[in-house]
């Protein structure tokens, strides 16, 4: 079967080109490492370059496909591969774009961050493999592939968090991440097994159709199905760092190397969400009552509860942190709550495309601004700046550019019109209004106000306060700086250029209904 890429007809597996780019890059890093195994040599640059190029390729190809209409109604429609186990459509491409961009930034930043560290090849390899897993999650179209790709993205992540073997924090973070991850994957697996028990199918659409026929025949176990659905929801909550399976997040993000925190909090979260979106919207639309009629298992309300709780817990806990990195970690939990609105606001009589599209756009912008924020922390760590807010005092006098970038990230995260975060935040608020879910709207307002408070604490430290003179910024690590600046520019440009991307998001979202 062939597909059409902007007029050129190509074999359908080409649609998976981004994923292949990740894999190839990963293999290449190992290859480079075998050639030049000793650390601290020219190989570092080569490895970083490989990773950056690989992820850039994935990013660009996915973006090109997105524009060219591959897998979208404009083109030849969704491309399904391996007997529909995988599907490439607007949604998957959109998220590969997110993952690709984040991976590229992270790898770029890592070059300076990993200076003098051993096992660099492994680092980049794991990052790329995790990225592969995430891009597959975006395409997964059956419970089996979903589970496998999720694990593929998780396992490397565990190792990455624990990358700094001699650093107690890193190890502890790795352990907690791993243990919580193990539990939640087993919960997910059990949930999948129950859904299988209730439906006997693995492919999402098949599950949906079978369930409806079964419901028609009356041999339908809402109890088992319900337990399964809830467990799947929670299993994915782990990936998206949503309450109640978020407990790993603060520690992992705080303990892990800053670039890894950036990677996990942006890309991994996005991947978890794309899987959740596709799974729940193609496998359980009728069960959730999206098609009208009263829901057998009201996962929409469940999502509402999770959304409210998640954003509240995340933001309130972030409000009183002393460490900047941990504050960002909690805020990332809070943002998971915002994005959950994409599922939570799918009430009846709502423009589903609008709701889901809003979440997708938020994830896209979030990819840049959050990654940027963590990378700035990486920069600070590189300079030997402490972790608490006070340690950032007066940093603007020494590194105005970086601090300006950080300010952009934080204000954009807070939803001020310095970056795309403004529009996406207000889109989400719009979605809640559109769905008439006033509770969500209220929670969003309260939390975003609170988030403004703790984000501006960093800004205050950087710009308002006087430096105590302990920190002396002597070197300006090129690649790390570049990564931060690029992220900042992207964040800012996403405000005026929002219109270039949002249509594809809304189209991609609408396809799922």
């Amino acid at each position: 079967m062939v597909i059409d890429v902007a007029g050129v007809s190509a074999p359908d597996w080409v649609a998976l080109a981004p994923t292949f780019a990740f894999v190839a890059a990963a293999m290449l890093t190992f290859l480079v490492d075998t050639v030049e195994p000793r650390p601290g040599t020219s190989s570092n640059a080569a490895l970083a370059a490989t990773a950056v190029v690989g992820s850039l390729v994935a990013f660009l190809v996915a973006g090109y496909f997105l524009v060219a209409g591959v897998g979208q109604p404009r083109g030849t429609g969704a491309v399904s591969l391996f007997q529909d186990q995988l599907v490439v459509d607007g949604m998957s491409l959109f998220f590969v774009v997110i993952v690709g961009s984040v991976t590229a930034l992270v790898s770029l930043a890592s070059f300076d961050y990993l200076e003098g560290q051993t096992y660099q090849a492994e680092y980049y390899g794991l990052v790329l493999l995790a990225a592969t897993g995430m891009s597959l999650m975006a395409s997964a179209n059956s419970l089996a592939t979903a589970f496998v790709s999720l694990e593929l993205s998780s396992l490397p992540s565990y190792a990455l968090v624990a990358y700094l073997k001699r650093n107690r924090g890193s190890v502890e973070a790795g352990l907690k991440y791993f243990l919580v991850g193990a539990v939640s994957s087993s919960v997910l697996a059990y949930g999948i097994s129950l859904v299988y028990a209730a439906s006997g199918r693995m492919k999402f659409d098949a599950v949906a159709s079978t369930l409806s026929t079964l419901a028609a025949d009356g041999e339908f176990f809402p109890g088992i199905l319900g337990i399964g659905v809830v467990m799947i929801l929670l299993g994915l909550a782990f990936k998206t760092a949503s309450v109640p399976f978020h407990f790993w997040a603060p520690e992992a993000y705080e303990g892990a190397p800053a670039p890894v925190s950036a990677f996990l909090s942006s890309a991994s979260k996005a991947a978890g969400f794309v899987l959740a979106f596709r799974l729940f919207l193609t496998a359980f639309p009728e069960v959730g009552g999206l098609a009208g009629g009263d829901p057998a298992v009201d996962w929409v309300v469940a999502a509402q509860v999770l959304a409210v709780v998640t954003m509240t817990v995340g933001n309130f806990a972030a409000a009183t942190q002393e460490k900047v990195k941990r504050m960002l970690a909690y805020s990332s939990v809070g943002h998971a709550g915002y994005v959950l609105i994409g599922l939570a606001a799918l009430t009846q009589g709502t423009d589903h495309g609008l709701v889901l599209g809003a979440s997708m756009m938020h994830l896209l912008v979030y990819g840049f601004m959050n990654t940027g924020a963590f990378l700035f922390v990486a920069l600070a760590e590189h300079w030997g700046v402490g972790r608490t807010f006070q340690d950032f005092n007066g940093l603007s006098t020494q590194a105005p550019l970086a601090c300006a970038a950080m300010t952009v990230f934080l204000f954009s995260l807070a939803g001020l019109p310095v970056g795309g975060g403004f529009l996406s935040k207000f889109y989400l608020l719009l979605a809640t209004a559109n769905a008439g879910t006033w509770l969500l709207a209220g929670a969003l307002i309260v939390n975003s106000a609170l988030s403004l408070f703790y984000y501006s604490r960093v800004v205050k430290a950087m710009w308002f306060e006087e430096a105590d003179g302990t920190v002396e910024v002597e070197s300006y690590p090129t690649s790390l700086y570049a990564a931060v600046v690029i992220a900042a520019v992207a964040t800012v440009l996403l405000l005026p250029a929002f219109g270039l991307l949002s249509p594809s998001a809304f189209d991609a979202a609408t396809v799922l209904f």
Binding site: L143, A144, F147, V148, E151, L155, Y158, A159, A162, K165, R166, N167, R168, G169, V171, E172, A173, G174, L175, K176, F178, L179, A182, V183, S185, S186, V187, A189, Y190, I192, S193, L194, Y196, A197, G200, R201, M202, I224, P250, E251, E254, G255, R326
Partner: protein
């Protein structure tokens, strides 16, 4: 004669809960890991049983996947537990609690 599928469900549920109990009670990382294995296997029981019930092999195949992934998970897990041992002189998961709040 075939056993009624409900019983399989009960069995798997029991196994799952045992695993869960283990997680909640054990402080050794290794036992923690084992309990997780139990939970995964509980899932496997379901898969196999209902694969039989629905008369398709998907479930059985999935159980194979699960086992493989479990193995991989253990591999990564053991690695992490090793470094844990190095840094915290032990594998008590409650020891590694420097980061909190």
């Amino acid at each position: 004669m075939a056993v009624v599928t409900e019983y399989y469900l009960l069995l798997s549920a029991a196994v799952f809960c045992i695993g869960l109990y283990g997680i909640l009670t054990r402080e050794s990382a290794l036992l923690f890991l084992m309990s997780v294995e139990l939970m995964l296997n509980a899932a496997n029981i379901n898969f196999v049983a209902f694969s039989f019930y629905w008369g398709n092999l998907t479930g059985q195949v999935f159980s194979l996947f699960t086992m493989a992934l479990a193995a991989a998970e253990v591999a990564v897990g053991i690695g992490i537990i090793l470094v844990l041992y190095r840094n915290f002189e032990g594998i008590d998961v409650t020891e590694a609690a420097t980061m909190r709040w």
